[in-house]
Amino acid sequence: MPLSNPANSQAESFKALVKGLREAIREPEQFTLSYGAESSAFVRFNHGKVRQAGQVQQASIGLKLISEGRHADLDITLTGEAQVDQQRLAEGLQQLRETLPLLPQDPYLLLNHNGWQSNNVQAHPLPDTEHVVGLITRAAVGLDLVGFYAAGPISRGFASSAGAFGWHQANSFNFDFSLFHENGQAVKASYAGHDWSADSFTRRFSQAREQLELLGRPLRTLAPGQYRAYLAPAALEEIMGLLSWGGFSAQSIASKSSPLQKLYAGDQSFSPLVSIDERVSGSLSPAFSGEGYPRSDLKLITQGRADAQLVSSRSAAEYGLTANGASGYEAPSALNMAAGTLPDADVLKQLGTGLYISNLWYLNYSDQPGARMTGMTRFATFWVENGKIQAPVSTMRFDDSAFSLLGSQLEALTQERELLLSASTYSQRATDSALLPGALVSKLTLTL
């Protein structure tokens, strides 16, 4: 099942749609047109075998029509047939033309009039899916493996009546998997990127297998209370993921629904060890936003203090800020947290006695304005005594404030950081990533 690489033809198809739209637009109309497509191989595994497999080919455009201060958005699925797609675009344009007169003028409409250009194509060949499936099932012999392999090309495009044009295309794969011990404990791992290497896959798989052996020890059940804890990068990613849900958003901060509103108001701070950027450069996500702004790197938190917010064009107009390439949701997609000084090799020694937490799960807020959050341990959580792993720990719930975990109780961040590529496939394969260290905290509150 070789995966086709339709990037060039997709770029040409998109350009043809843009050309047609430019010709169809009448003064004083303006437009923005975004594009998203992917051709994906999806393979689910359970008990080391293929549970469900398939392929998905999809493409869509997002058309915004603007006229005399009014605007509306329409997403349309494309077919890949030029004539049908031009027809759908024409019908969509007509629908929006009929819609605009029904709307009031929008005081928060802000358009980018720059004719910026951006082009980023990475066409590294991906392995044949059947070959990868063979490697995985052979590695899983004798193991209870459950997981998901997603691979293929992803394309994103943008064009506007102001002359802007952006194209982003990348091939990628993401094998996200767990190995289960017969006692129900599991270790989670992933192997993701652009360039599949059998050696790298084997190395990653072996690491997970080694951790699995530790999970065979008798399970330790902890009482609720406060414990020293090490949060591995994947666990810290869950915390950052929850905080990213409105945390850095200009609209959420202004409308008092951001969990970081006290940080941005200057009433709270994180530890000076904490510096967080939105690092678009070198990330997997496009260098332009869906609403037509080039994206640049931003310092969101500097040495524990609030810095930039993520500002969409709408927030820029409403709050008098400068749009900085944030999406309409104003959520980061390429978080980069500064490394600390604790070597990975010293983590257990520095932890001493406490919890080594590989992953957290299902976080939500106990008190959002206070950034107090709750969540569960999941996958490979160990009890450590005197710097040595003693036993896996049964699932526990924590409930703590981010201002405690990343503030007063943060002892150290690791020197080494891990690049975590999102395995999310809601609607489409995500291009989000996070580069994070591990965090040693002196007090984590377990409640259940």
Binding site: S60, T77, V133, S178, N364, R372, M376, T447
Partner: protein
């Protein structure tokens, strides 16, 4: 309606394959999301989506290919991709489906009031403008938003076994939320939104209570801002239907999904504390607990005639008088596990394969009016409207939070409290169910946002419930 059906049938009939069985599931979806925030209309967000999934079985191995290209060539190419994949994966396949029966049903299904036009875009904006303007002027009210989401879905399922199933549905999601802020704390009160969605037309907006709700919702946000935190400690807990839906969803629905019990979801959504051998034996809750899979309430969000594998949906008790009887498992999971289930194999769209999902999962009403539920509580708390949810991957240890809390002392509702949270363990929690509200407390609710599966899928689920009382639950408030 179904205007593509004749062409699709023709193209399906012309498809050529060496597969033992194949099916085509076509989905066309259109929608609009309209909102007014702080008296300013936001630009409408409209969408049109269309595509098809071809599924084949070759020597007992199933594979799928989804395509946006609905031409004869495009459908044939997808079918061939799926067939090729099924053949190639044969040595690695977990399942042998040669003995699994397939559907040959033929039927149509329609949402209620589908023939009645929905209010026009202008009429919707007039309503939203009026409700937004009705939020009182108070400098502490820093944000509010009124919205209506509408989704139309047409689905056609055709199979080589002769199945021909069509369904046309309209889903409506009204919503309002108001945030109050005092310079330190902020509190949000909402109506509808993720807690209320139904099938139908303008009647859904009326049933939601959106019209005229602005002043009351705003007043409640301000009351919360002034309220003390929820006190910590054990109390009898009265959950209103808009929190019961979340409680049912997370700690009955997900743990009873048969694909989780079979291990498919262990890498993502998780497993279950329920084991296959528990069905027919496990006392899941108190004798008052009666839980049904019910596709027959017309306005409920996940009512349908057949699931996405073409299996007819009928009402079934999953839990009766507290005894666990039946899992949420579709035909494939039933075949794998060798047990009866329900018709709940569902996909969120044409580009995702069907898996076991909740649909309408309800608690049957009891016999106590709300006044009696409250009157019988000596030391308790009422909680309403979910705002926070967290549960372990086996769906056992949970912590949930609500927008609205009111203490109950000696059978009477007392003061409002903010940040009402509670925690418990599913395996014990339902055994503490001590009273179930009557039909007057019963509400038909639903959410469009249930996430699960690899590849990920977010889908509509319905939950209807009366108000319910749970004894001696650990409750607590907020603050860091």
């Amino acid at each position: 309606m179904f205007d593509f059906h004749p062409q699709l049938k023709q193209r399906f009939a012309a498809l050529r394959t060496g597969a033992d069985f194949f099916s085509l599931r076509y989905v066309r979806e259109s929608g609009q999301y309209l909102s007014v925030r702080k008296n300013v209309a936001e630009p409408p967000s409209l969408r049109r989506d269309e595509g098809a999934m071809l599924t084949v079985r070759v020597n007992g191995v199933e594979a799928y290919a989804a395509t946006n290209d609905l031409s004869q060539t495009g459908l044939q190419a997808a079918l061939e991709k799926a067939e090729q994949q099924a053949r190639q994966l044969k040595p690695h396949a977990l399942l042998d489906l040669r003995e699994q029966r397939v559907s040959s049903d033929r039927a149509d299904y329609f949402s209620p009031n589908l023939d009645q036009p929905f209010p026009s875009l202008s009429e919707c904006y007039e309503l939203l403008d009026a409700e937004s303007a009705a939020v009182p002027k108070d400098e502490r009210l820093v944000n509010w938003q009124v919205s209506i989401g509408i989704t139309h879905v047409e689905q056609i399922y055709l199979s080589s076994a002769g199945a021909e199933l069509r369904q046309a549905q309209r889903f409506v999601y009204p919503g309002l939320d108001v945030t109050a802020y005092d310079g330190n704390d902020s509190q949000t009160r909402s109506l509808g939104r993720e807690n209320f969605g139904q099938q139908g037309g303008a009647d859904v907006i009326n049933r939601c209570g959106l019209i005229g709700a602005g002043p009351k919702v705003a007043d409640q946000a301000l009351q919360l801002l002034l309220a003390p935190n929820t006190p910590q400690g054990p109390r009898d807990l009265l959950l209103m239907p808009d929190q019961m839906m979340l409680q049912i969803h997370e700690s009955i629905g997900h743990p009873l999904e048969l694909d989780r019990i079979l291990g498919d979801e262990r890498n993502y959504a998780g497993t279950s504390f329920v084991k296959a051998q528990d069905f027919g034996h496990l006392q899941y809750g108190s004798k008052l607990l009666n839980v049904t899979f019910d596709p027959d309430i017309p306005e409920q969000l996940a009512s349908y005639g057949h699931d996405d594998d073409g299996v007819a949906a009928t009402k079934q008790f999953l839990i009766k008088q507290g005894l666990l009887l039946r899992p949420l498992g579709g035909a494939l999971s039933q075949f794998r596990a060798g047990m009866d289930g329900v018709a709940n194999s569902r996909a969120c769209s044409w580009n995702r394969p069907p898996i076991d999902r909740m649909a309408n999962l309800n608690i049957e009403p009891g016999d106590q009016p709300l006044a009696q539920l409250i009157g019988n509580i000596e030391h308790g708390i009422l909680m309403s409207t979910n705002r926070s949810w967290s549960i372990d991957d086996a769906r056992n240890k949970f912590q949930f939070g609500c927008e609205w809390g009111q203490l109950i002392e000696n059978g009477e509702l007392k003061g409002v409290v903010k940040n009402p949270n509670y925690r418990g363990v599913s395996a014990q929690f339902w055994k503490s169910l001590s009273a179930v509200g009557d039909a007057d407390t019963f509400q038909v609710l639903g959410t469009p946002n249930c996430g699960k599966g690899e590849p990920n899928q977010v889908i509509r689920v319905g939950h209807a419930s009366p108000a319910c009382v749970f004894s001696h639950i650990d409750v607590f408030g907020g603050e860091a």
